[in-house]
Amino acid sequence: MDKLKDNKKDSPTISRRNFLIGSAAAIGGTALLGSYKDASASKEFSGWPDRFGCLTDLTACVGCRSCEKACNEANNLPKPAVPFDEGSVFKEKRRPTAQAYTVVNQYKNPKDMSKPIYRKIQCNHCNEPACASACPIHAYTKTPEGAVLYDPEKCFGCRYCMIACPFYVPAYDYESAFEPKIVKCVMCHDRIKTGGIPACAEACPVSAVTFGKRNDLIKVARKKIMENPDRYIDHIYGEHEAGGTSWMYISGVPFEQLDFPVNLPKNPLIEETKGFLSAVPVVFTVWPAMFGMVYAALRHREEIEKNSRHKKEEDRHE
């Protein structure tokens, strides 16, 4: 009888404790993850409808580096050590740096050795940018106009965006001790907003870079490929790569020969982490209940054992 009473007295204590643990965790959980729903909300998002983009025709580029020069001037970047009309820079493969938003590299042309292929590199302004998905402070924005912009005032310099970018685009200003920041192409966003076009596209003497609405550019590219099947391979790079990009390319040789990453999934890279992020709320809700229960159950058993020990001792005394 005594034992029964004891048990009764105990059980509410346990459940109250459990309840407290559960509710504390629930509050903490909401605070910590209330906002992860964003990760899956973007599932339906297929990009801003009227966003702009560029189409680079790699068969047209002559490697004059006018785009590099125009970009440098339009964006007030530091003057390079080697002037823009110097051809020796093609001896090595370059990449965008903290001093240059865009660079042009030279490749051998397997079809015609006398006419090398030139590849212009700059930010591709992804439809769903991996850099923006990576940033823990939301320093990146995909603008409705198409450009992916970065705000140095928010950035604390973890450089996860550089890890995430499948195109090796963001560069970091490692030289600066107190104001280091990410540097990358902004698709001349200010010029576009006032009706202009990117400086590189404007400067190109052979119209290798076409500016326009992304949807139109895809049509232009298709048409070019269809009308010149000997000149182009049947692939618009950037139409689908990593969820699609605002900057796209057409080429006469397979893109892997020009060091384009060709091992990228068709889906935006954020899809790769969605599964993990969607498990987060489950852990927050199931774990406390499960481990709280285990704790309560073990304490309960201890209690029963203690009581039966008491009882035995009492019996012995009697």
């Binding site: 990760a39 740096t97 990576a134 001790a177 927050f284």
Partner: protein, 412 residues
């Protein structure tokens, strides 16, 4: 009046000597500091601290590779990715003791929590050395919320968990300071804190693996697996058990005077128990690794050079230490288990280096040449690791970590 202030000074003096100098006088204490270990530590610090100062005055480019292709080097590869799984000790020991009721492991619980707390604290210190603008470290909490970012989750969870572990360890600090009122409060919240610790650890241990899911094009397919979060979590659990063995072994060997008989007398038995847990965890992890290859059907890659290195990792640094641990447990030999534990810990570090440094950007030309760190980066890592050990030792010497405080025994 002057008498009163004299007593006060005297009181402070005795408090200072008791608490900070471990009951010795200044001269005695400073004489005791001259040991071979401390001399080596002083040399490492005298090189590393100036390098850290240069990094903060002249920027990252002055001391690191500062590469646009390789934004993360050994500061994070070793300090964050290597350090965090070895700091799962707090959550694993806390869960075992407070939740599952493994009461016999009491002598190792506080050691586990301290190892975990210090590990996280120093992971943050490595991170802050590497961040471009470390003074903005709180930005993910206040300035902008990158809610779709795995790193946002890591930032929040590591910050919260650091607080949780501090509260868990505060029990020992309060006993050291003999504060009874706050102490009672601290012991009351410990179950809640332990469960919070399980949630946060589960998520951010796996999140560290999930960070790399965003770079499918850059990772070697053998290390890039959709199982990365599970692999990171699973290996952190056995890493924690092995790490408790490693730390307790070092204390039993080099810091005997800080430990009581309850610790020293039970350590062999507990080591074997932990070893049993660790080897089960390692076999689970090993199978998960194989499932990961099978899931992506990457068997053919094992014959490539990177595949051979992968094989070295999973056979030489997972299966092999797991078998040594199993053998040690079977033979009830604490010595063999200890060897297996050191081996297992090195395997976890190797795995994290492989994921974050070797497998990342493997397809870039001259990759293996690029990942060799400059000596300055090594000096920074060595200095931070040395400070880590010194502070850890300072705490274990003074606070009741591997010994019970006589006045508080009744509470436990």
């Amino acid at each position: 009046m002057s008498n009163g202030s004299l007593t006060k000074t005297e009181n402070f003096r005795s408090w200072f000597m008791n608490k900070l100098l471990m009951g010795m006088s200044w001269s005695e204490y400073s004489r005791r500091l001259i040991t071979p270990f401390n001399i080596v530590a002083a040399i490492i610090l005298s090189i590393g601290i100036p390098v850290i100062a240069i990094r903060f005055m002249n920027g990252l480019a002055s001391v690191t590779h500062a590469s646009n292709e390789y934004p993360w080097g050994i500061l994070l590869g070793w300090g964050l990715f290597g350090g965090v799984p070895l700091s799962a000790t707090g959550f694993v020991m806390g869960t075992a003791y407070y939740i599952f009721g493994f009461k016999g492991y009491k002598p190792l619980v506080r050691l586990g929590i301290l190892t975990g707390f210090m590990g996280y604290l120093f992971a943050v210190i490595y991170l802050m050395t590497d961040l471009g603008r470390p003074w903005r470290i709180y930005y993910p909490m206040i300035i902008g919320f990158g809610t779709a970012s795995v790193l946002f989750l890591v930032a929040w969870h590591v910050a919260t968990y650091l607080t949780v572990q501090f509260i868990e360890f505060s029990e020992a600090i309060l006993e050291w300071l003999k504060s009874r009122r706050v102490y009672k409060w601290a012991t009351m919240v410990i179950i809640g804190m332990t469960i919070a610790g399980i949630i946060l650890s589960t998520l951010h241990q796996s999140a560290l693996g999930a960070l790399f899911l965003l770079a499918p094009g850059k990772m070697h397919p053998l290390w890039y697996s959709s199982y990365l979060p599970h692999l990171f979590l699973s290996s952190s659990i056995y890493a924690a058990l092995a790490m408790v063995i490693v730390v307790s072994t070092l204390i039993a060997k080099f810091m005997r005077s800080a430990a009581d008989n309850n610790f020293l007398g039970n350590i062999d038995r507990l080591t074997i128990g932990l070893g049993k847990g660790a080897c089960i965890g390692m076999f689970v992890y090993f199978v998960l690794k194989l499932v990961g290859i099978a899931h992506d059907n990457n068997w053919h890659l094992l014959a490539t050079p990177y595949g051979k290195w992968f094989t070295v990792e999973i056979l030489g640094f997972v299966l092999m230490p797991a078998m040594i641990l199993t053998y040690g447990v079977k033979k009830s030999s604490a010595g063999i288990v200890r060897f297996g534990a050191f081996y297992a810990v090195s395997g976890v570090i190797l795995n994290r280096i492989n994921v974050s440094i070797i497998a990342f950007n493997w397809n870039l030309p001259d990759h293996l040449h690029h990942i060799i760190p400059p000596w300055q980066e090594v000096a920074i890592v060595a200095a931070i690791a040395t400070i880590h050990i010194l502070i850890f030792r300072w705490i274990v010497n003074r606070m009741p970590v591997v010994r019970e405080h006589p006045e508080y025994r009744e509470f436990h």
